[in-house]
């Protein structure tokens, strides 16, 4: 099937190039046959890339080890789920994955976008085809997954055991979906610039895309944290690794974009800034791929160094230059329609929110790139690790958290001091009380106290928003409280969905604070021996080593160490942490005879985790002393980790609320023109 896959890629090259040309040229001339051809090109591009992907998937499933990619990332005994996930587990496969998903999004953008935006679509087709074309070129000429080996190995070398985890099956595609879908809003931005249709139309056309890609990024990042927590064994979920940062960066700029877009929609301001933000988000999504693939910054996630990096660098530079020229040419058309009416207004608070979000993005990018900068400027390599990022970003993060609470309390357009006092009284007082209680309880950590009291403040504002909103509807429309609540949320899904998202963010912040109170203990225990430790919540945990059992699994040899756990003298149960030695078999015989097993990776560790609302028990089996059952453990008590995953859930719920279709009006209707919006009909016809 690799022939078919290879052919699919070449066809994609052809159609992608044609679609790029005909999209831009058709959009420029407005010739309907060219525009129709560009639209068809997005569909055909998706079709041929799907064929290419099927080619790779079939090769993977058939264990065609003559194909280098299949031999490098899978083995005969790899569970089928992981064989499938190897599609995007390696360098060249992930590039193909990127191309096929982007072409799918490009086709969906053509198919789903309302007729109102027909003037933008040819340019959008041009951009999506161009970006897809870039990935097809890289796949074809720098990292081809269909490349064959001169010989056929008996078995592949298997997938890295750390990637053999259910989290790893869904985390990368989610993140990729987020990265890739940013291209669509970006394409609409470019289309608006090229077609000179710079009203709010393009923003409306991309609203759902923006939120969806933002959600995918958030889900992808959270799943990545979960994977790191469960699989990497250090008991944390965020290490400011370059690749983690790379996924965080576009999320930050997209968050800024989601907020500042509201100002442009409502007031016609910040047009240039929004163009810059969406371009920046797109660039950062490509940049993330660039730094993982170029090997420019070492990272646990790095793929092998290759020529791919140069392709990405070239592409990045091209986009920056092209966008700079385009923006400069259209600058006169991007003037604001209105001016800020007051410094104390929602608009102004959004400006500061954007400043902080972009500031955090800048500081993360700056920290990530600083080793490279330092090497260029001083010739000295430095390490920029978690201590640096925490020091620089925690204050900015807290500022952002505070703004999350302040923004919703200020009216659009204008607010006066008297009203501010009324709005802030309850939330500020409750935040203050929280701080006082924590200090009285003897919590010494300044940042923790600040975070918690700010969190209480923000939750206070969110609750107050809901309560006062329901009250206002009750008074204005005479609705019962339940009905008022339903209508309040139902008719302002963006606003109140947004508040739910804020709630999710607050939960994240609280959960992150828990990391400051983490405790670790290392111990070597004979069977029957017990180690004790104190949790930050005041519990005493006793860990009794039971023993180490060894057994074989399908593709690995397992040594499992068991620990009996008791909290405050009360038995909780037995927890287990594993060492796994993966192997491949030199002959296709099942089960593999002992003599034919060849260890494939260094032994990996599976942590034992028990979650609870207050803290996680995290047990790592480090190894044994002198080949006996005397086991070395690391016990970690990790407060509040469960809340990270819960925060992610709340955030997704909020996102779905904002996405839910709201009150609609009919705009294009041939039959009925007597309704209240006849003018709209005529207007769209004349367009």
């Amino acid at each position: 099937m690799t022939t078919l896959g290879q052919l699919g890629l070449w066809l994609a090259l052809l159609i992608g190039a044609w679609g790029t040309f005909v999209g831009f040229y058709g959009g420029y001339t407005g010739r309907p046959e060219l525009i129709a051809s560009a639209r068809r090109a997005t569909y055909a591009l998706c079709g041929v890339l799907v064929v290419a992907s099927i080619g790779l998937l079939v090769a993977l499933l058939k264990h065609d080890f003559n194909v280098a990619y299949v031999a490098n990332y899978t083995s005969r005994d790899l569970p089928t789920v992981y064989v499938l996930s190897a599609f995007y587990g390696g360098q060249s496969g992930s590039l193909l994955f990127w191309a096929v998903v982007l072409s799918l999004f490009g086709a969906l953008a053509q198919w789903l976008t309302s007729r109102k935006y027909d003037h933008l679509l040819p340019h959008v087709a041009g951009v999506t085809c161009a970006v897809t074309l870039f990935f097809v070129i890289v796949t074809l000429f720098a990292a081809n997954p269909f490349e064959r080996l001169p010989f056929t190995p008996a078995d592949g070398s298997g997938l890295n055991p750390q990637l053999q985890n259910p989290g790893m099956v869904i985390h990368p595609p989610m993140l990729y979906l987020g990265f890739i879908s940013i291209t669509i809003p970006f394409a609409f931005g470019v289309a608006a610039l090229l077609s000179r249709r710079l009203d709010t139309g393009w923003l409306h056309a991309i609203r759902k895309w923006t939120i969806v890609s933002w959600l995918f990024l958030a889900i992808g990042i959270t799943l990545g944290m979960w994977w790191a927590y469960v699989e990497l064994g250090w008991g944390g979920y965020w290490a400011w690794d370059p690749v983690e940062n790379a996924s965080f960066l576009p999320w930050l700029t997209m968050t800024a974009f989601l907020h500042s877009v509201m100002i442009q929609e409502k007031r016609g301001m910040l047009k240039k800034w929004n163009m810059v933000l969406i371009t920046l988000s797109f660039l950062l999504s490509i940049f993330g791929t660039f730094i993982t693939r170029s090997g420019i910054i070492s990272s646990v996630h790095s793929f092998a160094q290759s020529a791919v990096g140069y392709y990405f660098l070239g592409f990045l530079i091209f986009i920056i230059l092209a966008m700079a020229v385009l923006l400069w040419l259209r600058l006169p058309m991007l003037e604001s329609d209105a001016h800020l009416e007051s410094m104390v207004s929602r608009e102004a608070s959004f400006l500061f929110n954007n400043l902080i979000l972009v500031g955090i993005a800048f500081s993360v990018l700056w920290g990530t790139m600083f080793p490279v900068i330092s090497e260029i400027v001083r010739g000295t390599q430095v390490t920029v690790g978690p201590p640096f990022f925490n020091q620089v970003n925690i204050p900015l993060g807290l500022l952002l958290l505070a703004l999350t609470g302040i923004g919703p309390l200020i009216a659009w357009r204008k607010a006066s001091v008297k009203n501010l006092r009324r709005q802030f009284a309850v939330p500020v007082v409750s935040g203050g009380i929280a701080a006082a209680i924590l200090t009285a309880l003897g919590m010494g950590n300044f940042y923790a106290i600040t975070t918690v009291s700010l969190a209480v403040f923000v939750v206070g504002t969110i609750l107050q928003e809901f309560v006062r909103g329901v009250g206002a509807r009750h008074r204005l429309h005479g609705e019962g409280y339940l009905q008022a609540f339903a209508r309040l949320v139902g008719r302002n899904r963006r606003r109140y969905g947004g508040y739910v998202v804020h709630l999710g963010i607050v939960i994240y912040f609280l959960a992150f604070t828990g990391q400051a109170f983490r405790v670790d203990l290392e111990a070597s225990l004979n069977p029957g021996e017990t180690a004790e430790m104190q949790s930050p919540w005041g519990h005493t945990y006793a860990f009794t080593h039971i023993g180490v059992s060894q057994y074989d699994e399908l593709n690995r040899l397992v040594s499992a160490a068991s620990v009996e756990v008791a909290r405050d003298g009360e038995r909780m149960g037995i927890m287990k942490s594993e060492k796994r030695q993966h192997f491949i078999c030199s002959a296709p015989i099942r089960p593999c005879p002992r003599q034919l097993r060849k260890p494939s990776f260094e032994p990996s560790t599976e942590a034992g985790i028990r979650s609870d609302l207050r803290e996680d028990i995290y047990i790592v089996f480090a190894g044994v002393v002198e080949g006996t059952e005397e086991a070395v453990y690391r016990f970690t008590l990790n407060p509040m980790v469960w809340w990270v995953w819960f925060g992610g859930f709340v955030l997704v719920v909020g996102g779905v609320v904002t996405l839910w279709p709201g009150t609609t009006i009919r705009t294009v209707g041939e039959g009925d023109t007597q309704g209240g919006y006849a003018a709209q009909l005529l207007e769209s016809k004349s367009a």
Binding site: L61, P79, T80, L232, G233, A239, V300, H339, L340, S342, M343, L355, G359, F362, W366, F370, V377, R378, T380, V382, T383, V384, G385, P387, F388, Q391, V392, L396, D520, E522, S524, L525, N526, P527, G528, E529, T544, S549, Q550, L554, L557, E564, I574, K576, K579, Q581, E602, P603, T605, A622, G623, V624, V625, E626, G627, T628, E629, E630, R634, I665
Partner: protein, 196 residues
């Protein structure tokens, strides 16, 4: 031919958790009693020590010492794992570098060196890269203070620009003229129309 492969995979997926369950039952239950704390009896030999990876040293008080742990979390393991020495030696058990660096730290602390002296010794040996965060001096100050300064600077600029503009807008605002009753009726009608 390949159908059999697929079936084999499917059964494998089904068997793994089952096998895990069965094995968990086999864990010796006798060992769960409180251990003798006095004389340590040597633990029984393992069936196949090779599978457990690198042999480990017995844990002493040094491994959990907050001072040493604190020092080690400021030092980067030089094996290329990107982790600090403490995280590496308690996470990546295939690395031989971080235990060696740990022993070095313990030796230095034992010989009476202060924290700063230990860090300096490592920097002298491996270069500045061995520190998890760059020293706050010289060019590195840019790393620490550029983002914060930029945010504060742009923020101040923003406030200044807004304050300047505000005067202009306030002057431009016309006093709201009252609506005629007919206009009001039109507006009210349109508004109630919007209430779908």
């Amino acid at each position: 031919m390949h159908r059999r492969d697929v079936l084999a995979h499917l059964t494998a997926v089904a068997v793994i958790p089952l096998a895990g369950l069965v094995r968990a039952q086999e864990v010796p239950a006798g060992g769960a009693q409180e251990g003798a704390t006095g004389d340590r009896v040597a633990a029984p030999e393992l069936y196949d020590p090779f599978r457990v990876g690198r042999p480990r040293d017995r844990v002493t008080d040094y491994e959990n010492d907050p001072f040493i742990v604190g020092l080690e979390s400021r030092l980067r393991c030089t094996c290329g794992c990107n982790l600090d020495v403490y995280t590496c030696r308690t996470t990546d058990f295939t690395c031989g570098t971080s235990p060696a660096m740990h022993r070095q730290v313990v030796e230095m602390v034992e010989s009476g060196k202060t924290a700063q002296e230990v860090l300096d010794a490592f920097v002298a040996q491996h270069g500045e890269m061995v520190l998890m965060a760059p020293k706050k001096e010289g060019f590195n100050l840019l790393a620490y203070f550029l983002p914060g300064t930029a945010v504060v600077g742009v923020g101040a600029l923003l406030v200044w620009a807004l304050a300047k503009r505000r005067g202009r807008v306030a002057a431009a605002t016309v006093a709201g003229d009252t609506l005629s009753s007919e206009d009001r009726a039109t507006l009210e009608a349109e508004l109630s129309n919007l209430e779908l």
